[in-house]
């Protein structure tokens, strides 16, 4: 129940972040929104693991945190230099 409430709170905050991601006047607002969406994904996966009583989902959440930044890095490199190579 506790984990369910926490997951509900995280999902509602994900909806609020999504508003900024879609409305955001500049592309940087969108990028920041999607980045925090990734962080919420990590927490949600951990919480889902506890809701379904499979706490080893926590490892998967850790790996998610590791691959979360790839898109952001590529995006920033494109904005800085105009190309990726």
């Amino acid at each position: 129940m506790m984990f369910g409430l926490a997951a509900l709170a995280i999902v509602i905050s994900a909806v609020m972040v999504l508003y900024r991601g879609i409305k955001g006047p500049r592309v940087y607002d969108r990028l920041l929104a999607i980045n925090s969406m990734g962080t919420k994904t990590v927490i949600l996966i951990a919480l889902i693991g506890y809701i379904y009583e499979r706490p080893h989902f926590l490892d998967i959440a850790l790996v998610y945190a590791l691959i979360n930044f790839i898109g952001t890095i590529a995006f920033l490199k494109y904005r800085e230099t105009g190309r990726l190579d």
Partner: protein, 186 residues
């Protein structure tokens, strides 16, 4: 509780995809598609398909974003908008085209829904997909292949040639992308 959360995920998914289609700035659309992949990964996780969720997060949110940005760096960032006179001339044709596309999409949707009607229930243990060859894999995989994980045994041994073909396809696709995105040394 978990049902409410699932409904909110699916709502976010629909909003993300509609927003990505409607955006004129292609870079923003790419970023929103990244969010779509993250939510999709949570849904796979929720369905207990952990390896699929992994693939979705690394390929959908990671590699696809990088590849689309690489393609954008070789093309233009915005969609081209035709000038006013041309817009007025093509408006009628475009409305007709949209109508035809709507009808086609509706028909496809109907056929797909019709196709799901006689499928077994979600998670049904007596579904044919769970008894065709799965029983043999579960009973014999350990002594025949001597690998602890069934999924690994199926992918790497029972369907080894299939996996080899898939690897060839992915290798060819990687080569093609490298050739397309290569920068000429001048």
């Amino acid at each position: 509780m978990i049902n409410v959360i699932e409904i909110i995920y699916l709502f976010i998914l629909v909003v993300c995809s509609v927003a990505a289609v409607r955006m004129k700035d292609l870079l923003s659309a790419t970023v929103v598609l990244g969010a779509y992949s993250l939510i999709m990964a949570i849904i796979w996780m929720d369905l207990n398909a952990v390896d699929v969720a992994f693939t979705e997060a690394s390929v959908g949110a990671g590699i696809t974003t990088v590849l689309i940005i690489a393609a954008l760096s070789r093309t233009k960032r915005g969609e081209s908008v035709p000038d006013v006179g041309e817009q007025r001339r093509t408006r009628k044709a475009r409305r007709f085209k949209k109508f035809v596309l709507f009808i086609v999409t509706l028909c496809t949707f109907g056929v797909l829904v019709y196709g799901t009607m006689d499928l077994p229930d979600f998670g049904d243990p007596d579904a044919p997909a769970r008894h065709h060859v799965a029983d043999r894999y579960i009973e014999k995989a350990h002594e025949e292949v001597n690998v602890e994980n069934f999924v690994t045994a199926v992918l790497a041994s029972y369907r080894g040639y299939d996996t080899l073909g898939e690897t060839t396809v992915i290798f060819t696709a990687g080569l093609a992308i490298m050739v397309l995105l290569r920068r000429e040394k001048s």
